[in-house]
Symmetry: C2
Subunit: 329 residues, 2 copies
């Protein structure tokens, strides 16, 4: 079996997890648009790709997969999900398993206001959210919102362009200077992250959950797993209500004991290693699905108290090994 | 010999570098206020400390060193430098080598406007910088500044609270909402980082330099070393003009072929591993100084073309190992 992790970037640990789940002779390939992607150093083979946003990206990805008999493609960054979801059928037709959810799911999760609406429509608690200033003022007047308010881009990532506004002047400015903004209730509670997994029929298989202990560059840097039944129950509800295939990372924040949905990313999240150590084994599950095996759900199997801490691993590739990374066209 | 890396945090690689330079039987200890500091897992011994900002921090650090016969303390974060520099004599008197520069150096480097003034006074090129809006407007009118302008805290870190302002309204707002702000000319050029080293007599020993290829959370994430003579010359000039003991990380940015000084941090910087691979060996140099050996300067020894890429190393300590971290008082 050959697995391609695309936009592999810094995810050396995922390359390792897939290798551990594979049989001898199987291979993990990496693709990225940056030849300095550190995870390249762990891959059995590497392909330097155009940027995901280039018009012919998916055509080139398909050619790469076909020519090298790739069995499974696992996209690892958000911008790739949309284009891959739209062309999903082509991968299916070629017998390549593209680990991506349906376009509608990708759309809901890519836009945090659509995520909010998804929550509203499905009885999943969400923090009050609006997309313009007048309704925010109305909710403030009614006491349903209070300062500070959070202004963030509907499709932001890595915690970029998030502003905590203490008054109307700050709100006005932040709103004007934020790309595609929305205004959300600020919740000061503890933040939890899920790693959820569903099979090809969108059937929930796994719900793992962790308390975030520290964030860095918008990513979970330190976490400890939890088996809190209320959280696992909510995670299962989310999984049941969204058409998901493969892994999804979901963030919730505690509001007076009620976990509220903040955002969803239908791919491996940055905090996945915590769930992996708590027993999630998503790479092995994807390999099983690729072999057309049926998975047994393991909801409620998340072990509590497993710590994950990240630190810098330093890699120093030689020029020759960087030059050897094949420019794919 | 026993070396204590204080505020050791995520610096597992530094623990390794010191261990490699030490003799068998020597020890690297770690101190941090967070028992989840991932680098603890690499240390021979660990001490959970109060926060650096606590009033009795240095007293406790001294007791920790005395009781455990620590020979050298290496502080790794900026807030620790000031308090350690002020009490430097106490460490000297106890025969403990505290790797910290004189208070005046710490003050100049902690405040980016003082860094600018240091550059001005010492013929080191710096980007035009002011601390209030009227002189910025004057320089704009004279054509010595142009949009965008950068507003940043004089003593910020991790790239926090930096705003790029395209017009007067944005400048006004950013200035009002930035803690202890200054206004700086925006330079779009390539950024380089130095790792400089001086001995106890403030004599320059090493000047290593790298091109920054990528930043993350305000830290050098990817870099490649350079032996560019102009850059090495400027690094040596900086080293000659500041009273430095031990390592210092310095950032410059290219402005039409002229490297201009942005900031200095008289401690191991986040991009140090690149210089280490290029031959810097600062841990071995500190160990030599601790043994009262004289160092031979190795200026112009920086090997070019050495890459450093960081990625996440995942650590999963068990609860028992976390509980075993000694709370020091």
């Amino acid at each position: 079996m050959r697995i391609l992790l695309s936009s592999v970037g810094r995810r050396g640990y995922l390359v390792k997890y897939f290798k551990e789940a594979l049989d001898p002779g199987d291979e993990v390939w990496g693709a990225d648009s940056n030849k300095h992607a550190p995870a390249f150093q762990y891959c059995d083979n590497r392909a330097l790709m155009p940027k995901v946003t280039e018009p012919h990206y998916i055509d080139q990805l398909i050619r790469l997969c076909q020519k090298n008999r790739i069995d499974m493609v696992v996209p690892l960054i958000d911008p790739e999900l949309e284009v891959l979801a739209a062309r999903h059928q082509q991968f299916d037709d070629l017998g390549i398993m593209a680990v991506v959810s349906p376009p509608q799911t990708v759309q809901i999760t890519y836009d945090k206001y659509l995520t909010y609406q998804f929550g509203k429509e499905n009885d999943i608690p969400v923090p009050e959210t609006v997309t313009t200033i007048p309704p925010a003022k109305k909710l403030l007047a009614e006491g349903r919102l209070s300062w500070p308010l959070v202004v963030k881009p509907r499709n932001g990532s890595a915690s970029a362009d998030i502003t905590y506004c203490k008054n109307e002047k700050q709100l006005q400015y932040a709103f004007e200077n934020c790309p595609n903004p929305m205004i959300q209730k600020y919740l000061p509670g503890q933040e939890y992250g899920y790693d959820i997994f569903s099979d090809k029929n969108y059937r929930p298989i796994s719900v793992f959950c962790k308390l975030k202990l520290a964030m860095r560059a918008g990513e979970t840097d330190q976490a400890v797993s939890t088996d809190n039944p209320r959280l696992i129950k909510l995670g299962l509800e989310i999984a049941q209500k969204i058409r998901l295939f493969g892994p999804m990372d979901v963030d919730v924040i505690m509001d007076n004991g009620v976990p509220k949905l903040l955002e969803m990313n239908p791919r491996f999240g940055g905090g996945y290693p915590c769930s992996h150590f708590a027993g999630a084994k998503f790479p092995a599950k994807l390999i099983s699905l690729c072999k057309n095996e049926t998975l047994t759900p393991d909801i409620n199997s998340c072990r509590a108290g497993i710590y994950m801490l990240k630190q810098d691993e330093i890699i120093t590739p030689c020029q020759k090994s960087l030059d050897a990374i094949q420019n794919w066209r």
